[in-house]
Structure formats: C-alpha cells, structure tokens
C-alpha cells in the first residue's frame, strides 16, 4: 500500500521511525528497591537512590534485565551479552540525579524485526534498530500551586525499555499497525502492560518527507504522543506541514515538536540549536552489564507463543484467513478465547462467530473480552447446537443475543424458549403442504421453470414454523414435492 501526499509540485512520500518507551513490568525500580506501583500518593515510592541523596549508588535490578532480554527475544533481536549503562546529563526538576542512567552506544538489545499485520491482510516487516534500558524521570505537576511546580518522584527510576524502529514506516496506518503489534508483543511477553493512557507506553515519532525513492529528508521529532490514534494523526499532519513548508520554498529544520490533538497541529518545542548536549559517558557507578548465553537461553524457554507464531498456527491448523487470524491474535485474551471456542470444532465457524458476533457485541457494550458476558465455553456450546442441527444458524443469532444479555447457557435458553429445530419430517411436510395448497399459481410458476421461486416457498415455510424448521430439510422436501 502506498501513501503519497500529492503536493502542488508533485508527489511526496513520508518516512517515519518510531521510538517507543515501554515501562517495564517489575516490582521494583531499575536501580533501587522502591516500588513501581502506579497511582500511589506522590513521593511515597521513593528510595534514597531515587531522590539522589549524596553518596547513593545504583544497583541493577536483575528482573528488569530479564524483561529486556525477553522483549528482545520477542522482537527476534540480537541480544548483546555485554552492554553498558551511560549517563545522559541534563538539568530538570524531575531528574534528581541531574542525569538519566540510560544506554548509549552499547544497548542490551540490537537489531530485530516486527511484522506488521495490515488491515487488508497483508504484512510488512519493520526493522528494530535497538532496545535499551533506562530510568524514567519523575513527574512535574504544574497545577498544584499558583507559583511553584510540584515534583512527584514515584516514577523516578522506574525501568523503561526504549525501542527504536528503523525508518521503515511509510504510512500513518503502518505506524498504527507497528504500535498495535509492538503492544501485542510486550503484552504477550508480560514485559510491559502497554497502557498508553497511563503513560506506561509512550511514543515519539520521527517524521520526514521526500520524493518517492529519493534520499531521506530532514526529520522532526514529535514527542510523547499518548495514543495510537494520535500518533497516526500527528504523522499525517506533520507530513502535510513539511510538504507545505518545502513547497512554499522553505526548509525543514531539525527540531522537537509537540502534537496538539485539539488544534490538530504540531508545534515547535525545541530547535536543534537549543538542543541539550547530553554529554553521555559510561556510568562509573555501574560495571558493564554482562551475562552469558545460558542466561538468555533460560529466558528463551519461558517465552510464550507470540502473535506471529499463533497467527501462522491458526492459518495452518484452523484454515483461517490471514486477516481473521491477525484479528484474533492481536491480543492474547482474544486469542485464548478463540482457542477455547475452536477446540474440537470447526475453526472457521468459530472464528466467524468470535470475530463478527462476539467482538461486534463486545464493542457495542464497550467491554473487553475478559469481561464478556458470554463465556468461551457457552459460545462453543452454541456452535455445537448449530452443528448437530438442534438449532439453525438464524435461531442461533437470537440465542446469542439472549446470551449476551443474560450470560445464560445456550442449551438452557433453547430449551426454555422452545427454539429446538423441527427435524420431524411429518411436521415439516404438513407445513409445506399447507403453503403449497395456498399458492397453486406460484407452484405452477416453478414448474414452468422459475426455480428462483423456491426460495420464496422456503421463506414461507420457515415463517409458518417460527423459524424452527431445518432449512436444509425444508429446501429438499419442497424441491421433491414441487419438482419431484
């Protein structure tokens, strides 16, 4: 899929690279024993290290290292057995040390790949340049006092994984698909909860435009966009802005910009001239981070089946389309739900019901699959009722609606409401005979060759049986009676 901005001087292509900060799921911070619990009172999860008291020293939290390696493995990336923590120096009120401990030229994870699942069922691979571990800063609160800003250090020192993509993304949709996939992967792995609205996953987008296939243009970095939708919007709007600037004879200056979703525009935040000189250097308080292949292998053993593998399996074993499989594996709970429904049943039928009926209903209810009123077991039973001809597909839809409302067992619903399909040939025959008797002219039309009219008869019979007649049997018997 190509995405081209048609400017007044010709077509433009966009080039995007994303830097995503993922808060690591861990009990304590990257270099201190303080808790990482979200939502505690300000400045309650703060150790002496986090507050940068004199003489305090960082000690690496092994759990965070494991999580970073696990994520690297999930991204099919190179794990660096030796990496180095470096200090990124700058002054700010929410950065007590006056530097952030990060990784610079020797990150813990090197190059990897993410496969994007596009809405049309196609895939695209985007390169990962690196993943590194670093400390989060505290939080400045500017709305607590008319004169002063307040600082909450609860987040100060919490571990982040910064995941940097290659500039391989060419459309806003790909950016969205990238974030969706990355979020799915970290959630599958349990290394980040991926909640962008809580700030546990944050995205910076590097955007530039160029003539198709030409050299990269100058990029601008849009900082801290906090939803996938906003990232896609921001890229679109920023790319348009750049085209306008260039076509008006201007030049793009490398700078940091902010996206304002209310005004639908990006604004300059800091130009390159004003950019910090971070004076990175290896943190002398920490030794190089070294582990062996056995450590990596141990972690590898704990990896769950990841979205790509799961998707391939659903396609291979259940005969699903790439699109359906992609929808189902987008998150682990959905996939797990589907697997329960599909177990021992027709995988395609199960996928249709889960994707179209269940997800459609859940969307309307605005509840996640984990809170679905219809359990996977009950949806499975409903499919069984269809396949053993207890009810028809149409009746099944009615039963499903009742299940969504009440959460009840489908067998019970069918029983109580008397929805069992009529497979008794006698009963069906009676109904058919009545319809035939009442419509001799139409019977004649069919016999004269208007086969299509058979459908009308089927509808009439179904109507007279309250939809409970087995449509296959009705069809066959009608055909036999009129044409036989």
């Amino acid at each position: 899929m190509t995405y081209i901005i048609e400017g007044s001087t010709g077509p433009w292509e966009i080039v995007v690279g994303l830097e995503v900060h993922c808060q690591v799921v861990s009990k304590s911070k990257l270099f201190s024993g303080a808790s990482t619990t979200f939502g505690n009172d300000p400045n309650t999860n703060v150790s002496l290290v986090d507050a940068a008291m004199p003489g305090m020293l960082p000690v690496i939290n092994e759990e965070c290292v494991r999580q970073a390696v696990k994520t690297g493995l999930g991204l099919k990336a190179k794990i660096n057995l030796e990496s180095v923590f470096a200090r990124k120096n700058y002054f700010y009120a929410d950065l007590p040390q006056g530097y952030q401990i990060s990784q610079f030229d020797k990150p813990i994870v090197g190059e990897g790949t993410i496969i994007l699942d596009m809405p049309d069922g196609s895939t695209k691979s985007v390169g990962i340049e690196r993943l590194h571990l670093e400390q989060d800063a505290g939080k400045s609160m500017h709305d607590q006092d008319p004169k002063y800003s307040h600082i909450d250090l609860n987040r100060s020192g919490v571990a982040l994984m910064e995941i940097v993509s290659m500039p391989d993304i060419r459309t806003p949709e790909e950016a969205g698909a990238y974030l969706t996939k990355l979020r799915a992967i970290v959630r599958y792995l349990g290394t980040c909860d991926g909640n962008m609205n809580e700030g546990s996953m944050r995205c910076d987008a590097n955007v530039s435009v160029r003539r198709p296939g030409a050299e990269f243009g100058t990029r601008c970095e849009i900082k801290n966009v906090n939803s996938i939708r906003y990232v896609m919007q921001a890229i679109e709007i920023e790319a348009k802005r750049q085209v306008e600037v260039i076509e008006a004879g201007g030049e793009i200056v490398q700078e940091t910009r902010l996206y304002d979703p209310r005004l639908g525009e990006t604004r300059s935040m800091r130009s390159k001239e004003m950019a910090h000189d971070y004076r990175y250097f290896p943190d002398p308080d920490l030794l190089p981070l070294v582990f062996d292949q056995a450590f990596v292998s141990e972690i590898e053993k704990t990896l769950p089946e990841l979205p790509d593998e799961k998707k391939a399996r659903f396609m291979r074993e259940n005969g699903l389309s790439a699109y359906d499989a992609g929808v189902l594996v987008a998150d682990q709970e959905k996939a797990a739900y589907y697997e329960v429904v599909a177990k021992g049943r027709d995988g395609k039928l199960a996928a249709n019901w889960v994707i179209t009926n269940l997800f459609g209903a859940l969307n309307k209810l605005e509840v996640p699959v984990t809170e679905s009123p219809v359990t996977a077991e009950n949806l499975g039973k409903l499919l069984d009722l269809i396949s053993d001809d207890t009810i028809s597909g149409r009746i099944a839809k009615d039963v499903f609606e009742i299940m969504i409302e009440t959460g009840n067992d489908p067998e019970k619903i069918v029983e109580e409401k008397g929805l069992k399909q009529i497979t008794d040939t006698g009963a069906i025959e009676t109904a058919i005979d009545e319809v035939i008797a009442a419509n001799p002219d139409k019977v004649q039309e069919i016999r004269d060759g208007k086969d299509r009219m058979l459908g009308w008869f089927v509808g009439q019979v179904m109507k007279s049986t309250g939809g409970k007649a087995n449509p296959g049997m009705v069809n066959k018997m009608l055909r036999d009676k009129i044409l036989g």
Partner: protein
C-alpha cells in the same frame, strides 16, 4: 600517666583490653586535645556528645566480653562520609546543614567494630584539592612547622584527617583518595595513609567526587594501625556495584617483618626533572633499607606515567561534573532564589553561591571534556591512556611484588603557595595519580625529614587486592626508617 592521645591504635586497643583505661577516658582525652588544637581547624564539626555516648556503649559492650576490631577507639571521620543525623558537608557551602538519614557503609563497619566518632574532619571542598585550602569551612593548618614558623598546608584532600592524627586529635581517621587524597596529606603530616584497591571498601554513603577513582582508606600513625583499621572498614557491599566480592583477609597477620626474596620495583619514570634532591635521597634511602632487609630491588618501567596527571585531570573532573549535578538546591542543602526566579535561575544562583572556585573550575573542565565534539579528543582518549597505565603496572607486577616511589614531589608548603596556579597545585599529585588510575593499593609512610625538618613519605604500590604485601613491605620499611619525629608540641 600515658598521654592517651599519643598512642597507636594497637597500643590503645591493648590498653583497653588490659583495662588500663576505658574508652570513655580515651575519648575524653581526645575531646580535650581537639579543644586545645582548634586553631588547626582540623574538624568541621566536633561531636563530643555522640563520642562519649559511643564510648560508654563501647565500654559496656566490652564489659560483656564483646569487643570488635576497633572497640572503643576514638577516630575522626572525614566529612565526606555520610553520618546518620550528623551534618555532612563535603566541606561545601552547598551542603551546609545537611544531615543524612543514613550511615555510610564504611562508617557503619567501623562503628560495628566498636570505633568511636570524635567529629567530622575538614577536607578540600568535595575532596578536590591537595592543600585543604578549598574548604568552605576554612583551611586546615599542618601541625608541623617549617624553620620560619609559617603555617603550612596539611595536604589534601584529607587534610583535616591527617592533621587530626598528627596532632593527637584522633587515634586515626578515615580518608578518601581519588588521586592521592590519603597518601599526599599523610606524607605532609608525617603519618601513614593507605589507599586500598578500588573496590576494597564500599563507596556507598560517601559523597562522590570521581566514582571510578574514589576509595576510602585508613590514616593512622603506624603501618600496623593501617592494617587494623582497614580490616574494620573493608568488605563487599551489595549496595555498591563496584565493590569487589572478595574476602577481607587478616591484614595484621601480613605484618611478618620478613620480605626476604621479595622483588621491589623502582620505576625510572618517577625520577622526574626538577625533583628536589632530598626526595631523591629519601627514595634511595628507602631502596637501601629494603635491600638490607633482604628484598631484591629491580628497575621497572611504567612508560605511560608522564600522561597520568593529564589523564587524571580529564577523567576525575568529567565524572565530578556529572556527580555534582545533584546539588541543585532542590531537595537538600543550600537553595538561593529570588521572587519570580525560574528553575534555571535557581539552579544558577544556588550552584554559583554553593560551590567554591576549585569545584566550579573542575565542573567546567569536566563539562567541557564530555561535550559534543570534544568527547573523543579528551574523555575517550583519557580512557585509552588509563588502560595503558593499568597495563604498565600489570606488566611490572609480572616481575615484582611491590613498587617503591616517593609519595609527593615535596614536603608541605606554605598556606597560600600555589594558590594562583592550579596546574602547579595539581603537580602535587604526580606520584599518587598513576596508582589511582590503575585502581591499585598505595601506602604512604613517613621515612625521613626534609632540610626544613618536615616529614617526607615514601609510597608502596601493590597488586590489585594485595594490600597484604604492601603492608608487609611497609612494616619493614617503617621499622628500618624508624621515623620518630613529631610536630612541635606533640613530642610524647
């Protein structure tokens, strides 16, 4: 009665064990001596109340038959160690009034071993200096006097610690050494100073100057005392990632007095131009003493020595510029701001008012060498040279057990001298800096007097985590040198 302030740690330890005196008596004698020597300005704050309390507790502990390695022994703590509830300043205005809620690992170890704290010893601001003249709380005066009677510097940065030990204001003191801050003042004040191997003592709770170099160590009157005290300070600490997971040996047991067959290296690069003749002579005398004791003296070469000082003055300020960023006026210490000031205004005012000139100079040097475009030319190159310096030593230690060199290129100089020329001041560290860069243990001990009658020290440098050899050779040299001179007024 014995002057209780003139004892060695070993003597006091034995005296306490025999019941000749109590820790309270020993401590009270030192509190009196501290009062009598206040003119030296060796302490930033004295903590007599806490000292007596600790001494009483120690006597009670001993009465129960429980005595640590330094039970009841009163010492000074360099004011770079965070001490719980006791003001810790690093001799800087910016930390004035700061009382940590925590105790450094080294002082915790010492107190667990029974040591009694007399007060917080003066130092150069943030341990940056070689003369103890950069302290916000005033310079320290060396108890030794030259022939003209002028006040001399005690060396630095552990100048207060050295002066306190030399003047009988503490039986021993903690110091820290980044580029010579234990060894050089020990040499200037006629005492023993040991910088252990980097990683031997925990840095947790020590106000950081240059993290890859800082190392705590003992400052004492004898080599034996240094062995005793190091044993009470050292040990692996999980809270310091650079602390080495190695066992602490019985350092005192290393003092066998026998160095026969040992090989002592003499680095020719330390024979610098313009070396005062008396330093050369001191060194030659030391060589002769070790040879007489049965050691084999061999020449070694440390070819990158001439780059050590330059390397040090890139690496240390670079780390310091980052380490000192946390002193921003926000969470502790001094804050200077006026109505309507921005965050940046507050940073600038607090740091301009809080840091002295030498500290500001080093922050600027450090910021410069780490800045974009200069990093490779300065910092990165310095790291490479540092590696070479380490390799020089490693090669030399392939053939020798220890290296003997002067500690400093001169005796203590007059207060005010060298002040207008920072580079000249930095040259005081020329012999101590290489071992610091290589992370090696270095022991300075007094072995002679200058023509002015001032103490001069020689330095023994050892292999990583081989303080035992350094102490053993040091013990032999100490016996042979028989240095008994004391500053005026301290003659037993």
């Amino acid at each position: 009665m014995t002057d209780l302030t003139n004892l060695t740690l070993a003597e006091a330890r034995d005296g306490l064990a025999k019941g000749d005196y109590t820790s309270v008596e020993l401590t009270e004698a030192h509190i009196k001596s501290m009062e009598a020597h206040r003119n030296l300005n060796a302490y930033i704050i004295e903590t007599p109340g806490k000292a007596i309390e600790m001494a009483k507790a120690s006597d009670a502990k001993r009465a129960k038959g429980d005595a640590g390695k330094m039970e009841g022994l009163p010492i000074a703590i360099k004011d770079l160690f965070c001490t719980e509830g006791v003001q810790t300043t690093a001799a800087s205005h910016i930390l004035e009034g700061f009382k940590p809620e925590y105790e450094s690992t080294v002082t915790t170890n010492l107190f667990n071993n029974g040591a009694v704290m007399l007060g917080k010893a003066n130092l150069d601001e943030f341990a940056m200096g070689s003369s103890n003249t950069s302290s916000y709380y005033g310079n320290v005066i060396n108890p030794w006097k030259g022939k003209d009677g002028k006040d001399l510097v005690p060396g630095g940065s552990s100048g207060g610690s050295a002066a306190a030990v030399a003047a009988g204001m503490a039986l021993a003191a903690t110091g820290t050494d980044t580029g010579g801050s234990i060894r050089q003042p020990a040499s200037y004040c006629g005492i023993v100073g040991l910088k252990p191997t980097y990683g031997r003592c925990s840095r947790w709770g020590i106000v950081a100057f240059a993290s890859s170099l800082d190392q705590a160590g003992p400052m004492t009157r004898t080599v034996r005392d240094a062995a005793i005290m190091l044993g009470a300070m050292a040990g692996h600490d999980a809270k310091d990632s650079t602390s080495a997971p190695v066992a602490v040996p019985d350092f005192e047991a290393a003092l066998t007095g026998d160095i026969r067959g040992m090989k002592i290296g003499i680095p020719k690069e330390y024979r610098v131009d313009n070396m005062p003749e008396e330093i050369n002579k001191l060194w030659d005398n030391g060589i002769a003493m070790l040879r007489d004791a049965g050691a084999e003296v061999v020449d070694v070469t440390l070819p990158h020595t001439k780059y050590a000082l330059g390397t040090y003055y890139i690496v240390a300020p670079a780390e310091a510029s980052s380490n000192l960023a946390r002193y921003d006026g926000l969470r502790y210490g001094q804050r200077v701001m006026d109505e309507g000031d921005s965050l940046d205004d507050m940073y600038m005012k607090s740091r301009a008012a809080g840091f002295g000139k030498e500290v500001q100079r080093r922050i600027m040097i450090g910021t410069y060498v780490l800045s974009a475009g200069y990093y490779d030319a300065y910092y990165n190159k310095a790291l490479k040279v540092r590696r070479r310096i380490y390799e020089d030593f490693a090669t030399a230690f392939g053939t020798v057990d220890a290296i003997l060199a002067p500690t400093a290129p001169s005796a203590a100089f007059a207060i005010g001298e060298n002040e207008d020329d920072p580079v000249k001041m930095y040259l005081n560290d020329v012999f101590t800096v290489p071992a610091s860069l290589a992370g090696l243990p270095g022991l300075s001990l007094p072995t002679g007097l200058s023509s002015e009658g001032l103490p001069l020290g020689l330095q023994l440098i050892g292999k990583p985590f081989d303080e035992e050899t350094v102490l053993r050779v040091g013990g032999v040299l100490e016996t042979a040198a028989n240095f008994t001179a004391k500053p005026a007024g301290q003659e037993g």
